[in-house]
C-alpha cells in the first residue's frame, strides 16, 4: 500500500489507539490496529450478550426476579452490537472509497 492509503486511515488509528490503551497489548505494534480495536469491542459485546443470555435462561426456567432486567440487558446488547457494526461499516466504507481512488 502506498502512503496515500495510510494517510486518511491514520485518523482511525489515532482514535483506535486511545480506545485500545486499556486492554493488555498482545502483539506489540499491532495492538492499536483497527482490527484489534474491533476485536476488543467485540469482546465487550460478547460480555453484554452473555449477560442477556443468562437472564434469558433465567426467564425460561422461571428464575428471573425482575422482568425489566432481561429486557434492558437485551436492549443494551442489541445497541452495542449495532454500534460495533456501524463502526465497522464506516471503516470498511472509508477503505473502499480509498481503494476506488483513481491513480
Amino acid at each position: 500500500m502506498s502512503a496515500a492509503t495510510t494517510a486518511p486511515v491514520s485518523g482511525v488509528q489515532q482514535a483506535g489507539a486511545t480506545a485500545a490503551a486499556a486492554p493488555a497489548d498482545q502483539a506489540g505494534d499491532a495492538s492499536d490496529s483497527f482490527g484489534n480495536v474491533v476485536v476488543n469491542a467485540l469482546q465487550g459485546v460478547q460480555d453484554t450478550q452473555n449477560t442477556a443470555n443468562n437472564l434469558a435462561v433465567q426467564a425460561a426456567t422461571g428464575n428471573l426476579t425482575d422482568v425489566h432486567n432481561y429486557t434492558i440487558a437485551a436492549t443494551e446488547a442489541s445497541l452495542q452490537t449495532e454500534l460495533t457494526v456501524a463502526v465497522r461499516d464506516r471503516a470498511v466504507d472509508a477503505f473502499n472509497q480509498i481503494m476506488a481512488m483513481q491513480v
Binding site: 425482575d66 432486567n69 434492558i72 436492549t75 443494551e76 449495532e82 456501524a86 461499516d89 466504507d93
Partner: protein
Amino acid sequence: MTIFPAFDIAGSALTTDQTWMDAISDNLANVNTVKPFDQPAFQERFIEAQALPSNPGDPVGVGGGVEVASIQYGDSTGVVHSDPGNPMANSQGLIRSPDVDMAQNMTDLIIAQRSYELNLSVVQSASQSYQQAIQINGKS
C-alpha cells in the same frame, strides 16, 4: 461502567418500584389477616428508598439511580376490636386486625405503577437516542 448509563439508572428505579409494588401487594393481601389478642398483628410493609452514588466512570455529578435501603415495618399493635364470634377471639371477645390503610395503599400502588411506567419510557427514550446517534450520517 457501561456505555449506556441511563439504562442502569432507569433499571435501578424499575427494581425499586417493583419492590414497592411487592410491599403494597403484601399489605393488601393481608388486609384481612386477623390474629389472636395475645399475638402481634400483621405489620404494614414500607420500603425506604435511597439515592445511589454515581458509578465509576459515569459523568460527574450524575448519580447511579435509586435502591431500596431497607424495609420498614408498621405497628404490630394493629387494631384491637371485638368479634366474639371469631374462633381466635380471647375470653373478652377481642382480636387484632392489621393497621393497614387500604385507600392509602391503593393510592401508593397507582403511584408505583406510574413511576414504573415513567422509568420504562426513560429506557425507551434513551434507547431511541442511542440508536439515532449510531445512525448519524449512516447510509441506511
